[in-house]
Subunit: 336 residues, 5 copies
């Protein structure tokens, strides 16, 4: 989908830049680009073919489009007539089985010229739509403040979405932190690893974005005017915070994993204590009853107690006493 808006004389005007087949029209695009005032072409949810057409009309190098199409790492590159920033829209999506949510990212190419902005993507980008709607709703001042400011607005929105992703990851971590205290279920460890994997993927989006944005925050490219720098610094600050949070969350999952692994050891320890108590109480008692089950016979030296009138009660009481003593001991050493 290709659409375009031009701000001129305090008015925002939407311009059709497609031919009859809905394909991008090079002439229209070039006119939009060269017209006085700030112009914006939104080429998101477009196929690679359309993107190449738009880029050619705007005099944007073909490698720029290839980077967008191939969804390479976030980066900023300065060309003579424009600055190209490749960033990502990120969202958490459910995977093939429950609890297997994954960080999904889509490329957003921001090509910032002196008085034009061209946004390229093969996917629909919610952040771009939102800013487009703001312009459409008559927020003319948005384009009025320049192409670099419009690009900042898109970036700002994308970064806000990053915070949403982190919020959802944080929720999962909190669930997992409750889990590990009560469960030795191996699924818990899988869930912890899933979160770690998400943080890994998310870091792959945010780390290079931070490195790339520092260039814009310093206002290095000609297209970023001094009065816009501080907005880019603001986005940069947010990204530093996001990268920080990502590291912290990773540390939290490590803590959760430690507790989980310990819960298993702990459980084994408890199980062993139970077994030891039962065996320690009953093995000696079974031995005793075994003694009086022996068949010795034939004289006063051979098992006279079997014939003693109170032999049975005495043995039973004796065994009870042994059992009580042992249980008391086990209670004292905290086995039961």
């Amino acid at each position: 989908m290709i659409r375009s808006a031009v701000y001129h004389d305090d008015t925002v005007e939407t311009v059709d830049v497609t031919d009859d087949d809905g394909d991008p029209a090079a002439d229209d695009l070039r006119r939009v680009r060269d017209t006085e005032g700030v112009s914006w072409v939104d080429a998101t949810a477009a196929d690679a073919h359309e993107l190449r057409h738009v880029a050619e009309a705007f005099g944007v190098h073909s490698l720029v489009v290839e980077d967008v199409v191939n969804n390479v790492r976030p980066k900023v590159e300065s060309f003579e007539e424009y600055t190209f920033a490749l960033v990502k829209e990120a969202e958490l999506t459910r995977g093939d089985t429950p609890f297997h949510e994954e960080v999904h990212d889509e490329p957003v190419g921001l090509v910032v010229g002196d008085d034009w902005l061209c946004v390229l993507s093969t996917e629909p980008i919610a952040a771009v739509d939102a800013v487009w709607d703001a312009v459409a709703r008559g927020d003319g001042r948005l384009l009025d403040r320049g192409a670099d400011y419009a690009a900042y607005r898109v970036l700002d929105r994308l970064v806000d979405e990053y915070f949403e992703v982190l919020d959802r990851i944080e929720t999962t971590i909190e669930l997992v932190e409750e889990d590990v205290l009560v469960s030795t279920d191996i699924g818990t460890l899988e869930r912890i690893n899933n979160v770690r994997r998400d943080l890994l993927s998310f870091r792959k989006v945010t780390w290079p974005t931070r490195s790339a944005l520092v260039v814009l925050a310093r206002g290095d490219p000609e297209q970023i005017r001094p009065e816009t720098e501080k907005y880019y610094r603001d986005v940069y600050d947010h990204l530093v915070e996001i990268v920080d949070l990502t590291e912290t969350y990773r540390d939290l999952t490590s803590g959760a994993r430690d507790i989980y692994l310990n819960t298993v050891s702990q459980s084994t320890n408890e199980v062993m204590k139970t077994l030891t108590v039962v065996a320690t109480v009953f093995l000696p008692l079974t031995f005793v009853v075994g003694v009086y089950g022996m068949n010795f016979e034939g004289g006063p030296t051979n098992m006279p107690e079997l014939r003693w009138a109170y032999g049975y009660p005495a043995v039973m009481v004796g065994m009870l006493a042994v059992a009580v003593v042992m249980l008391a001991y086990f209670r004292r050493v905290d086995y039961i």
Copy 2:
């Protein structure tokens, strides 16, 4: 709450900068700012609305207020007419359950002009109150030494509070270090993780503060005069020490965790030894008494010992001997 003090001709004068409704009065604020002498506006415990008013009156960029309101990461930014330092007041607060204390931080925005200081916060800041009281008590020399020196005093106080936080964390670590030697309670591991989490949060406050303060310690911003630089270096030194201590404490918690995890293994080992001793002693003996419980009969080859007059005492003595030998062996290999 907005209040203001001006130092001029060796006197400190408190100036009312609010209108009848207690809201900040732009005119008063501007007069305080432009008056000869060093002036200070304390806009802490203020709501976002008030902060925006004060900032506007002082010609401070709106993003500065947003950074304070959103409590973003500590940082220093230089503007043309002022330098903005965002730092944090930190304290340990009890969480929802006992032993769940958490590092709580509140933003403090220090805007340092040539001869004015504006402190912005949405929360009451104890460190700012303390310095304000010093000024109110007539410590005129404090403002006399310039806006940058007054800002240093606030910073110095905040950093002293950081040391208090670390002291309390250290106390908790010492408690935990005693715990781990005696307990296999899973709660101990939770406590260790709580401390680690606190150190993590605290590091998030102190690390960026250190990075930000290096700019002031080098005296880069125009508003930090050469004669004040060394005070900022002093604060910077303290922060380096705090960051160091944080790392050390983290290492200590790792050591405590290792000991704890080992205590569990150790306990399982002890439990198994007990079980093994009991089973090893009684299983053979029970076998022996089982032998003499068999019902073989009918000839001299079938269990003649059952009919031997001293069969029973001999077996009992034999079993006792076996038990004694086994127990001696287990003592020698340190099982009991």
Copy 3:
């Protein structure tokens, strides 16, 4: 094998640079080098002796050849008349036993002059052959765009092969991730270590290549013309991505290893629970039947229940009750 192509006046011409014995002919090589137009000598799958001959004819330092022959670490070195890039072709090869695949690498020396390119290797290099075929198929424009562009094409191909290696490693990791959830087989841990070892070897290829390519991406050497820089930046971007993926894959194997190690602990825990349930149910029951196997006799106090008409059914029912209660308890604490 030594072969050569020259681009001049919009035509590509293959030139024989070997003498009658198939050895490199110094005169021919020098003529190819000095002829007007862009020339390319492909000296791959050549022995050290041939490489030294070619280098001498081209005025390339002998250490360059030694680096290729000794297959040292990837690097870029600038000489006065040429730039030397040593890179590697990488592939996964099966080792001596199944599942012991290994990263195998072969040196590719790219010597880029002003209007000539000389590719040196002791091994056949698929990437070089592919680009040679493109030239041979009449893709004249390839040489037309200069020696630096031709070198880029080889690099680009090599890096594509790196992605293939990573794809195969990823497949192995996925297999291993499924394994660890179901198996406590020690072979699984070996497989995990094999993958880690592959990633280690692969990192040894890609890390220094990335460091070396940054020099070309910045266009530092004289032989890399401004219009080609962006292609080198493209290759550099790919390498950054590869290095990133390598780190991520390493993290995944760590997660797999954790799960594996836990699977063993978990299994031990399960085994102990089984044992504990069996022992806890049968040890007391065996004790009970042992009691009624005792031979006390001779009076109403000695085991009257043996002579009670319902003694046997009562004991059996009692034991059943005990067993049922214990099993219910074990089910409640999740032992069975």
Copy 4:
């Protein structure tokens, strides 16, 4: 204690710089400072009050004294008329219980002027005393070579003391390495943690010292003359070595901890093997004797073997055979 020496005309002269009460005399100090020749004031083992007096007399900033009194992190700071190096004397002291030795450090402030050296400390510093004794013994050449050289001598001595600390830590590590191979005592793990803690404390002394000394080794401050630089480089080299050794020792303690933790697992493994052998041998045998303890009666199909003349010897031989076979199997799989 304040004492002072002046080197002039090839003679070293001790100068009294205290008044009648033993307090520092500002006039004397200033005279010593300004006299021709190299002068040295040793203000170690002094209280904070005295240090402030000395500093004031020498025109040294009050923050310098505060840094010494507060024993902050080692550092080097350049002032206009002098260079201030804060370093530490380190020693291992016994803690409250045996084996709880701790790294104790004391601040040493070296203030190096053009032709004067002022050493500040609240504690007696053995290294300073040693160098003072060398001067007192007539080693005039020491002061003759300048204030920077005298400061180097103190530093060199302090660093030699660091090596002694490391030597003692190494001895402890060697003891611990022997321990871990034979003991599963939890005290061993505590000892390992104690050493790690010592290394942590020691690193806190040496790391910042190394960072600080690089400034002096480069000869940056005006007070360090070119001909003395190489001596500071020498001290710097030693510190690099010390920092290296500290890291190596830390790695060794990690290795010791791994072995220790494994010793516990190993012991549990051994214990389980013992139990398994005993249970596996005696449970089946006890079953067999239980069989022949059954009371079946009344016909040729019910336990005829009980009435077979060789039933008893046959069963006994059979059980012996079973036991021998099982023990042989357990020996083969290395359980016993």
Copy 5:
């Protein structure tokens, strides 16, 4: 041992630089140094006294000799008239018990002047002897190419010896990797730790050497001529490779340790399975035979099966069935 060679007019001449007692003769040394042509003094396997004499004669600073004598960390230092490189000869030596091989290093001081080279060491250095022999064998060209080239040759040889050390360490690692798969012997863990310790020591030799050599590879010192730089770069490349391999080997030992630790867990798991199978099969059966060993009597309700003609065979068959079912179950869950 002090010996010397001078290259002049295409001839190499050995010059005696010792007096009648075999001590270094200052006059001879100075003459060798100042003679036209490239001269080399080999003062290896010399005592500290001799080294100091040689250094004095050559005008080399006394700290240089002290660094060699004290065997400090590898480094490069530039002096006005010469460049001093301290490197190490490394070899693996057997320790006090078998398998306790250790990395042993000896200092080699290379002092490179404009047209002279002075090699200092307290130990015999095989690498120096080898290069000396090359010169003695008439390889005049070696000295012909300058003092810096001769120093390179020594370095190159030392680095080749590093590769030999690594080869032997690799062999040990391969042995250990085979060990860990079959053995739970604690000696295996010791062996792994020994290798890690060797790699640690070796890294202490190679890391600083790499850092030092980068200075020579860049050709910074005046004594390293542009035409020799590339040789130093070659040595530097080798060192980078060595440092890389050291890290890789360390990673391999970590993998081996993981497998080892897991082998112990695995073994405990197997042992527990054996125990559980035996106990689970025989405890119920023993209970059953215990039941029929009870002495209930006196009525049709009391154990009628004891008097049933097929009671015994029925019980035996029943127990066999139970055992078979349980064993089948255990085989299915992979316990046996």
